[in-house]
Amino acid sequence: MEKPVVRSLLEANDAGAAELRALFAERGIAVLNFIGSPGAGKTALLEKTFRDLGGEFSMAVIEGDPQTDNDARRIAAAGGRAVQVNTGGGCHLDAALVRRALGGLDLKGLDLLFIENVGNLVCPVEFDCGEDCKVALLSVTEGDDKPEKYPLLFNLASVMVLNKIDLLPHVDFSLERAERFARRLNGELAVLPLSCRNGEGLDGWYDFLRRVRAKKAERAAVGR
């Protein structure tokens, strides 16, 4: 007997993400999912953010890595709260892993929650973790054709952070080209060139965070 079925292979994750989204909405926590290659500077940007905005916002990070708690220790050294999730070799975080990580976090009074995904430009894009926005983090040492090669990430991201711009004089990376391709894939995409090393451009990133947080808090207040 043939039985027609239409069920998405991502349905379990999507349902889990919807639950997380409702939980974050109720508490007014703005959630950002960081997606970038290994070494692009995801942890470095978070360290800077914790050092510079630690007095302004209550923030926490869920660190996803195949192994070690090195990143969680880096965040803790920067004065931040971090929960490490080891995927045991897995290439992405998903809603169930984020849900499990929340068990180790006090959500009370939290303004911003960062999900630092496993370093990978493909797999993490498929798995919604209940975030408000995906942050595509690219560094200028990686090549300016990444938006062309990984269109889905840049399609779905709200912001593209271009890190390590202090190295621009030494690499063949065209900011203009990366920006043009990414924007044509996604007209709404905010583009923020910055350097975690010398601090250039970080103000733009902080303003972006303030906007995301303000919008979420406003919506939570309306919902109450």
Binding site: V6, L10, E11, E148, F181
Partner: protein, 119 residues
């Protein structure tokens, strides 16, 4: 590599669907529809399925993967087309106006269970 997670989810769906039938009913095959832009590789899905069904109630179930062609609407002129170099990317020149970017994906993102055959 995330195909393992996708197959874990597929097995859950199969288990859930088979729970609706009386004991003694057996699943013989499952059809999954996989779009060209779904970011899932059919070969990797098949391998993961074979490995993950071993020694389970689904050992020997036939997995058929139907690949879905990409269908785009041009971001500039709206022309609907399937890129010649199917199935690689949504960054393809429009056959009418040549625009390469900002196309809307009409079909090709799908990844779902389409049919179960039970005996």
């Amino acid at each position: 590599m995330h195909e393992i997670s996708l197959v874990a989810s597929l097995l859950e769906i199969m288990r859930d669907e088979m729970g609706k039938y009386s004991a003694g009913t057996r699943l013989s095959s499952v059809i999954v529809r996989c779009g060209a832009l779904s970011n899932a590789l059919p070969e990797a899905l098949s391998t993961a399925f074979t490995v993950m069904t071993q020694d389970t109630e689904f050992a020997g179930v036939d997995l058929e993967i139907e690949e879905d062609a990409l269908r785009l609407a041009c971001g500039a002129c709206g022309e609907e087309f399937t890129p010649e170099d199917f199935p690689v990317s949504s960054l393809a020149p429009c056959p009418r106006c040549g625009e390469e970017l900002a196309h809307r994906v009409l079909a090709g993102r799908e990844l779902y269970v389409r049919r179960l055959t039970i005996i």
